[in-house]
């Protein structure tokens, strides 16, 4: 049963990793704007190249 102690510590470490990921995501500004990405993702990449150079 004592092995549980190690397992729980490991599980907490993994959870901390997720918290770290969340903090990183916030720091990089992913939560600053929650509306524009929803619009942006519907846009296709422009396929046509410039007609005249």
């Amino acid at each position: 049963m004592e092995i549980l102690i190690l397992l729980i510590a490991l599980s907490l470490l993994i959870a901390l990793g997720f918290l770290g990921a969340f903090i990183w995501a916030t720091r990089s500004g992913q939560y600053d704007d929650d509306q524009t990405p929803a619009i942006r993702m519907l846009h296709d990449n422009p396929t046509k190249k410039a007609k005249t150079e």
């Binding site: 907490l12 959870a15 939560y31 600053d32 509306q35 846009h43 190249k49």
Partner: protein
């Protein structure tokens, strides 16, 4: 039932049916129409933008949304040479490293998916632009560019050129840049959620009553883990509540955060002691859950107020640059007395000065509310805030911008009446009562157990503090009012905080401004009075009026229509303050206010007189057009509401207006901004709560003084004075429903308080007896919070539906 939507709908069908709508902006093509690529454009500007866009392979711009472009027909070219000044640039740039520069622009024109698409493809228009990102909610564009390839000024000119003129305001030049988004709350929320989840897991043996392991190694191990997880919640996530509670106590005011802080403090200390002394598992799960729920409430509330800025002053209205006599431009805060500046048609005078030359017809409606322009002779003083209508003026400045009359007026104390707090008043009052009840209950329990069984005393005392912690109570206002704020937003009414809904519910006096508020700002009814004009004469009048930029001439020519090209105007002359003289086909016309002894100029209405060959023929009478649904809206106001009309204009339409507000005593004309402010103050001295509706800067002082100041605006992108609520003009008719909704929501807040108290009474009955187990606390806290959230959602939607307001937003 849904007036706002039906307007939008009919708008759309109009555009698609119309064959000669502009391909770029969707507006009707008038006399300036341009045809290019077999497509119609309403003006040269739109056609240019189309060419830039298609030549760079960005045609998709036109396929992504119905009306993607922004009409350029009314915009004049701006001179941005003042942007070359390095000092001015520094104020506007957010970040610079080497030649890489990042700048944030506010672009009020952003309105659809196509805008986002085009603005994020700016790098295809110029190689110097590395990246551009749009924030749709805030109507902002962040651009990273190489300064050695495109200058700041060229970038602004490029944006202006494709129809997105950056809104650079005087205020931007003055203040430090503040970070746009508050990420702290998101971190706090994340940490609290993380801790809450994990602590719950580690508390499971406790929940399941696995007593066999209670005294074992695991129990201690979990205890320490929980303590470690709870630390960041206590020290980071919850700090704002402690700070707010302390700030409240310091000004001798007990707000809702005081009992919350007490509860968190009791939870943390009690649990820490239990864990460290191995006497129990503690209540860390309840603590983390409590903080997590509270922060969700806070976040929900904050999200509702993202979009519009309500803090505005004269700086938002003023241009950022002025043109000097030699044609160069200079940023406004660098102007000094002695400078000679040029002011063109429709430009604001930025600072007080003396008129040197030019025919000045200055519209001071911005300052005084009187909309008729005033003629000013060279040598006389002109004041900041006046708008020139007519030719070019040369002004010798006598004051700096900051020392001018208008700006001084703004700095006066009366215009900065006590900042209305953002915090909810109900929550503040309830928080006060609640804290005293909790404290006396806790102390009573302490005293009782000290006498009966001193071993249990501290235990029972802290239990009372824990269970009474008003989590559900604290959530009632954010969620009920937050939902209310969102629903109002969908109906075209944007409020600046939940306390506005509360104040709105208690208002009993309605003060209305006239021009632009109950009438349309940009439309008037024109009627002909006099002998009948022939078709030829009408065309002649229209053609003459087209030569002038005076607003009355402009609306008259628009009313009469475009004359045939054969109508030739000769000997045109504009006499400031009087009108126009010209001849067409050998007939001499005089249009304006040339009163002769037998036909004195009419002073009580706005009229344009027509004289042909020095003989008076008749007048075009300009009547303000009242808003559609005005009578219905005001009639739907409760009878207990007294209405007053306070206008800067001359008295007009006495009978109609008296009928509208109730009696002639309630009409107040020719009121200066200071008089309006005084009027509102007077009403408040008589113990009335004033709801004021206005539109311009001349109402600004009164709007601030009012309990609820509402600004009505045709376009939400327009600058409006500081206010509590911005009401879109189409939603004017919803005003009675909005007020009713606010009333009902306030009573629902009280009902929710009752519901929350029920839970507290149940919990307290355990706590006072001294046997509150962690599991009861852990169940009661989320249960009460959850029921409040659900209650808030149901009542706000139900009440809005009953009042015929739009609940769901399908537009975006």
């Amino acid at each position: 039932m849904e007036p706002v939507k039906s307007v939008a709908l009919s708008d759309e069908t109009l555009v698609t049916k119309q064959p000669d709508a502009c391909y770029h902006c969707g507006e009707l093509c008038g006399h300036d129409a341009v045809v290019a690529d077999d497509r119609d454009f309403c003006c040269q500007g739109c056609s240019t933008v189309y060419q830039i866009i298609t030549q760079n392979g960005l045609d998709d711009f036109y396929t992504l949304a119905e009306k993607p472009g922004f009409s350029l027909s009314n915009s004049s070219k701006l001179d941005y040479s003042w942007l070359d000044d390095p000092e001015t640039q520094e104020q506007l740039i957010t970040f610079r490293q080497g030649s890489t520069v990042r700048v944030l622009f506010e672009l009020p024109q952003i309105h659809c998916a196509s805008c986002v698409w085009l603005l994020e493809k700016l790098y295809r228009l110029n190689d110097g632009i590395q990246q551009s990102r749009v924030n749709f909610n805030r109507r902002e564009l962040s651009v990273v560019f190489q300064e050695d390839q495109i200058t700041f000024r060229e970038l602004v000119e490029l944006l202006d050129h494709i129809g997105y003129r950056p809104a650079i305001r005087l205020a931007d030049l003055d203040k430090e840049h503040t970070p746009a988004v508050n990420r702290r709350l998101i971190y706090q929320l994340g940490v609290a959620g993380f801790a809450f989840g994990n602590i719950m897991l580690f508390s499971f043996p406790e929940y399941l009553g696995l007593n066999s392991i209670r005294e074992s190694l695991f129990s201690r191990y979990f205890g320490y883990l929980n303590l470690a997880l709870a630390m960041p919640v206590f020290l980071f996530s919850a700090t704002d509540y402690f700070r707010s509670a302390l700030a409240g106590i310091r000004v001798r005011e007990i707000n809702m955060d005081v009992p919350i802080s007490l509860g968190i403090l009791a939870l943390f200390i009690r649990s820490t002691v239990e864990v460290l002394t191995y006497t129990g598992p503690g209540y860390f799960d309840s603590m983390a859950g409590l903080v997590f729920f509270l922060l969700i409430g806070k976040w929900f509330q904050q999200k509702s107020f993202d979009r519009l800025s309500f803090e505005r002053d004269y700086k938002s209205y003023f241009p950022v640059s002025a043109t000097l006599e030699d044609g160069t431009t200079r940023s406004l805060n660098q102007l000094i007395p002695g400078d000679r500046i040029l002011v063109r048609n429709q430009e604001l005078i930025p600072a007080d000065g003396v008129l040197l030359e030019g025919a000045a017809m200055i519209d001071y409606s911005f300052v005084s509310g009187e909309s008729a322009p005033v003629a000013i002779q060279p040598g006389s003083k002109v004041f900041a805030g006046g708008r020139q209508t007519g030719g070019r003026l040369l002004i010798h400045l006598s004051h700096t911008v900051k020392q001018s009359y208008l700006t001084q007026l703004w700095n006066e104390q009366s215009f900065h009446s006590d900042e209305k707090g953002r915090a909810s008043k109900i929550a503040r009052v309830m928080g006060g009562h609640f804290t005293w009840i909790v404290l006396s209950l806790a102390l009573g329990t302490l005293a009782y157990w000290l006498a009966v069984d001193s071993g249990k005393a501290i235990h029972a005392f802290s239990s009372v503090l824990i269970i009474a912690c008003p989590c559900a109570l604290a959530l009632a206002v954010p969620f009920i009012m937050g939902n209310g704020v969102r629903i109002l937003g969908r109906n075209g009414a944007y409020v600046r905080g939940p306390q506005v809904i509360e104040s709105l519910a208690t208002t009993d006096v309605l003060v209305l401004d006239k021009t632009g508020t109950i009438t349309y700002a940009d439309q008037s009814d024109i009627q002909w009075e006099g002998d009948t004009l022939t078709e030829e004469e009408k065309w002649a009048v229209s053609a003459i009026c087209r030569q002038s930029i005076h607003p009355l001439s402009q609306s008259l020519s628009a009313f009469l229509g475009v004359p045939p090209r054969s109508v030739q105007v000769t000997a045109f002359e504009e006499i400031p303050g009087q009108g126009l003289k010209a001849s067409v086909n050998g007939k001499a016309y005089a249009i304006g206010r040339f009163g002769t002894p037998d036909t004195p100029p009419k002073r009580d209405v706005t009229a344009v007189e027509i004289h042909i060959h020095n003989g008076y023929v008749g007048s075009y009478i300009f009547q303000p057009r009242y808003r559609q649904g005005l009578q219905t809206a005001l009639a739907a106001m409760p009878a207990s509401m007294t209405m007053h009309l306070v206008s800067g204009d001359r008295p007009v339409d006495h009978e109609f207006l008296a009928n509208l507000v109730g009696s002639p005593d309630q009409l107040h004309f020719q009121q200066l901004p200071a008089d309006k402010l005084e009027f509102v103050k007077q009403q408040q001295l008589e113990n009335h709560h004033v709801l004021m509706i206005g539109d311009g800067l001349n109402d600004a002082g009164a709007l601030r003084q009012s309990n609820v100041g509402v600004v009505i605006t045709e376009s939400l992108n327009n600058f409006t004075p500081a206010s509590d609520m911005i009401l879109s003009a189409q939603s004017f008719i919803l005003l009675p429903a909005i007020r009713k909704l606010s009333k009902r929501l306030v009573s629902h807040v009280y009902l929710a308080y009752g519901l929350a108290l029920l839970y507290n009474v149940v919990g307290l009955s355990f706590a006072i007896r001294g046997d509150l187990s962690p599991i009861i606390a852990a169940v009661l806290m989320p249960l009460s919070s959850l029921s409040i959230v659900i209650y808030a959602w149901i009542v706000s939607h139900f009440e809005s539906k009953r009042l015929g307001l739009i609940i769901h937003d399908h537009d975006q």
